[in-house]
């Protein structure tokens, strides 16, 4: 646990941090609002006393009632991992500013978060599905996407899911084409 990092964070971006700064084991955790993402990330990345240059991870989280985007940063100025939780993103229309202006590598991470959770990152110029097929309809890692209990109900059941040209009128009435959406809880 890095006490000095906690003090520096409070001193530097005090108002933008929502709630207390939690510290456990080797991790320091702050929560911010979606609107503050660019300023906070730029501050942490650029300012000489932070220099969080390495984006370790960008994860989407669905907490049942709201969406979160979680950044993990590493810096040589601190022995801790810094975890930034962007909280309070609505599940109906999840939107979050993109981090690609700092880390180009965040582009695919955000694509993945969009693919799995449907979080739209504003500013990401290539926000497509990255894992699932382009005509897939649901967001698998959301909490209302339940895994089927048996193989017969699973979306992969007997599917010959070719990456086929886009012809909704024809492909839709092909019984083997559609990937079934899991029942919502």
């Amino acid at each position: 646990m890095d006490r000095t990092l906690k003090r520096r964070l409070e001193a530097r971006l005090g108002t933008q941090i929502q709630g207390p700064i939690r510290q456990r084991h080797d991790q320091t955790e702050i929560r911010i609002q979606p609107g503050d993402v660019p300023d906070v990330l730029r501050t942490l990345h650029d300012s000489v006393d932070f220099r969080f240059e390495i984006l370790a991870d960008l994860a989407g989280v669905d907490t049942g009632e709201s969406m979160q985007v979680v950044y993990h940063l590493w810096s040589e100025t601190s022995p801790d991992w810094l975890r930034i939780i962007v909280d309070g993103i609505s599940r109906e229309d999840p939107r979050c500013p993109s981090a690609t202006f700092l880390w180009t590598g965040a582009e695919w991470l955000e694509r993945e978060a969009y693919d799995m959770f449907g979080i739209v990152f504003e500013g990401n110029r290539d926000l497509r599905r990255i894992f699932m097929p382009p005509d897939y309809t649901s967001f698998p890692l959301r909490k209302d996407f339940l895994l089927p209990d048996d193989a017969a109900r699973s979306p992969g059941e007997g599917v010959r899911h070719v990456e086929r040209p886009y012809a909704p009128a024809v492909v839709a009435d092909d019984p083997a084409a559609g990937v079934r959406r899991a029942p919502a809880s």
């Binding site: 456990r24 084991h25 994860a59 975890r83 582009e107 799995m116 290539d126 382009p134 012809a167 492909v171």
Partner: protein, 433 residues
Amino acid sequence: MPARPTRPTTRAARAETRGETRPQEPRPPEQHRSEDDPRIMLDRDVGADLYEPIPPYPTRTEREGEFYTRGDGEMFINIGPHHPATHGVLRLVLKLSGEQIVDVDPVLGYLHRGVEKICENSDYYHVIDQVDPLEYVSSLFQEWAAVLSFEKLMDVEVPRRAEYIRVLSGELLRVASHTLYMGFLALDLGGLTPILYSFIERDEIVEMLAALTGARMLFNYFRIGGVNGDLNHEFMSRLGDWMSRAARQTEANAGLLNENEIFVRRARGVGVLDRATALRFGVTGGNLRAAGVPFDIRRAHPYSIYPELDFNVPTRLEGDSLARYLIRVDEVRESIKIIDQCLHNMPDGPVMAKLPRLLRPRPGRAWGACEGPRGMLGVYTISDGSDQPFRFRIHDPSFLNLETVPTLLPGNLLADTMTIVASLDPVLGGIDK
């Protein structure tokens, strides 16, 4: 008498008498039916365009539209998902002019198995088994990241002997992975023999790990708070045999390529990844160290007994494919040093901490990261107090390493695609999760 109504002859007529109408398939005149798959309707006439990888659906993003607009003299060529040189099922859509690459659009997800979702629906012991096939070349590191995160989540103290065994087996597997890397790099450059020599080493190592863990590839070995079993005699004897010639054999295998003029000429100066770009892309592991950033989690954020071990982090400044290759060669030497130290001061004691059968960690979040052969493997776990992780996020280094391909490829020749992709060392299992 009234004439009997004559029975309609054709089936269509009969259906009409019954009031049914046979469904007519809609065939708009401006569309054409594909020849190889009659279910496919094309908005263009069937011709060479049928074989273009231009997305038939409307381009959805700015980047996609920019990529799929073709200048004159440019052609698209589609490498993968089945291609001998894409390690696994990666698909690269290249935009070529002649043999020179103008732009590239990687398409992932051909191996997306939904591991995160499955892990969120299985309890903590099963998660370790489920994350195995992600980094299928070096499974132990994925397990290691998972158990690191879980141990932070549950405040478990790991016995020192277990830590030593983890480091020992992990470094063995790192050697195996790097040896395979050299072989595959040579194979993609057209050399047949080095890959077979690499596989000899890899087979030695996985056989001795099979003696330790019981599996050749997907060892379900690490446990929360220790490892599954203690060292046994067969493992130690095999390890002794291998260590007696490991260093010499590694030098021999490396010399097969290092001193090959054709290999060096093809790898040097190809796919230069400089420091700023690497940091901006979040590249980790040997690819980042080849760009001159000494970022190795074993030193930058020590997590096991690595602070006690004596090894150094090889770093190079060129950042091209040859540097990435040479970094691996140096890391193999370092790993052999580490294995030697582990064998010499291996402590005695238990290999598992005392844990309940059913793990219900109190609600919280934990991030565990370890240094795999390809870079930082991280796992972010959220516990809601139940026996299953509420959110289980896997971070794979190959994912971000591969993301640099659209930056590295343009301007090179088609043949350099294989050099660059192979030198970045992607593992599609980890990339696609």
